[in-house]
Symmetry: C2
Subunit: 345 residues, 2 copies
């Protein structure tokens, strides 16, 4: 299977996406075709052998061929017309904007290009932290209570400490812990820099946090990762997460009871089915007084959380066999013909 790795794009997580894409070269055995989306949202076909982070920061990527998206795939223009890039399935590695908000999912659907990654509804459900809570409530998964504010609203906080998050965006961008009223204004400025709406949750110091990734690899069969207890100081900010990312991952497999493992998996399954079909996601959970709470859903986790799986390469190939199919829609112009015959009377 030839896998197309799509990454970059107009996103606050453009650079993380580049690092994720480079990681794939080390962990996947498939033939890889790299499609870089630059900040102007032009597509470039980068040879796998040339992939390194400097290529993008220097602007050198521009010397490679531009691609055009069109029905059925990506195309290169030449004197002799359009030539289709030979790809079986796309792996969507575009974190944040475009990749995780449904824009690219919509493009792939419209142009009928098979892809591994969250579908449009899955994106909207996971990239908007407020809609995530509504979704969780509808599937009987607990989340922390929150207040929701628009940038024009008067924000008031009853009890500190709280954590302030832009409603959209991942990777802790724009997120602050606020311990007292005099820290509030600055934290609001930071959060509203990235989004017009925010949520405010209670901040629970030292809360137990567990990450579990997984993907559907057959009818109702989910392949789970190990459960990770992420290392943290208070919480990992963007920069720390990012720099960590490029090091060899030392994963701490959480030392927890079988009972808790099974609770976490049950919650994962409720979140996944069937909204996240076709994607490999990581759910980040809190555990408070033995109860599991969903913190967030990462529908395209950094470097696809490959380090949490024993055999990541086989997993990706399995997912590609169970991608959701588009509904067949028959258009036969019955009604238009009725109108015409009605007019003829």
């Amino acid at each position: 299977m030839t896998l197309g790795i799509i990454f970059g794009s107009k996103s606050f997580e453009h650079e993380i996406s580049i690092v994720s894409a480079i990681t794939m070269k080390k962990v996947l055995k498939n033939t890889l075709e790299y499609i870089f989306i630059d900040q102007h949202r032009d597509f470039y076909h980068i040879p796998a052998s040339k992939i390194n982070s400097k290529l993008f920061s220097s602007g050198e990527y521009k010397k490679y061929d531009k691609l055009q998206i069109s029905q059925g795939g990506f195309f290169k223009s030449s004197l002799f017309g359009q030539k289709k890039l030979d790809i079986d399935t796309i792996l969507n590695l575009t974190h944040g904007g475009d990749g995780e908000d449904g824009v690219l999912a919509s493009l792939f659907e419209f142009f009928n290009i098979p892809f591994i990654g969250p579908r449009n509804t899955a994106c909207v459900v996971s990239c908007d932290k407020y809609i995530t809570k509504q979704y969780a409530s509808s599937i009987n998964v607990k989340t922390l209570p929150c207040e929701y504010f628009h940038k024009d609203d008067k924000v008031s906080v009853e009890k500190y400490p709280v954590i302030i998050k832009p409603t959209k965006l991942g990777s802790s961008i724009g997120v602050s812990i606020v311990k007292s009223a005099d820290e509030l204004d600055y934290a609001l400025d930071v959060a509203f820099e990235y989004d017009d709406t925010i949520i405010i949750e209670p901040f629970i110091n030292g809360v137990k946090e567990y990450n579990l990734a997984g993907a559907k690899i057959g009818n109702n069969e989910i392949q789970f990762s190990i459960i990770e207890e992420p290392q943290k100081e208070e919480f990992l900010d963007f920069e720390k997460k990012y720099m960590d990312f490029n090091r060899t991952q030392q994963v701490l497999k959480a030392n927890i009871s079988d009972e808790l493992i099974s609770q976490l998996k049950d919650n994962f399954i409720k979140v996944y089915n069937n909204t996240f079909d076709g994607s490999l996601i990581r759910c980040d959970f809190f555990v408070i007084d033995d109860e599991v709470y969903l913190n967030e859903i990462n529908p395209i986790p950094g470097s696809m959380a490959n380090y949490l799986f024993d055999d990541f390469n086989t997993l990706i190939n399995q997912i590609s066999k169970y991608l959701p199919k588009q509904k067949d829609i028959k258009i036969d112009y019955t009604y238009v013909n009725q109108i015409q015959s009605a007019k003829g009377k």
Copy 2:
């Protein structure tokens, strides 16, 4: 202003969209450029003077120029390269799939094409009837209670009559009223024909129904339509709505109290702000015991509900001046450069 009318596409409401598009020629004074998306999702540029329903049902549209979507707009290929179609703003008239589920909104966002119509989140919130209820609850707008079922679930109904609706889709497609247990299986078959999930609501015979359309035409300024009390036998099925659509609309302005008018408008504003910025939507409300309930949100109402407005042409021009802007995202490769300098150490 030159308006591009985009319509058709791979959708159960493909034909309604054609009728809406034809209607625009009668009600808009702008220069119109018609872009038809056929069922294979190829774009065609149809001269406004040639627009009629038979052009599409006969397949004759294929003799007109194909278009390619690319950064900044739609392009025509010729021997001398690509020529951009001269359009100021797109009016998204694609009902149902692609148009109202966020696919086209995502395309326009990705390719940086200004458009009148619901943005991606607005689409997901309105096209999924179950998410609509969650959204409504978050903004303190009432909806009827419902049960939610997947096609693999065992469906049970406690009290008849109920109304069964596919979770997605509009225009009453796949919707049935079920009066007793022996009608249930057939109604479920019909609904699951169109969607993998359904909702079941109590059916209230003779419930008062009111439609209100509107759009943002300035900072926090919404232009409302008249309030319509739709004519109905039990409820309008797809065919009836569709045939009605092509007749001259006899609109019944609802004869209701100022108090109720203001309640309906208040509910509309809660629904609209700010999720539906950039679009003209119609909210369909129920009134039960003097309480307003949101039934559904039509983010691209049939023929844009033009018949509910005094001066539809001016309205469309006003909306186009207040389209939401994309966030500016600066990509400066700070982190990638840090990694490179860390490696150099």
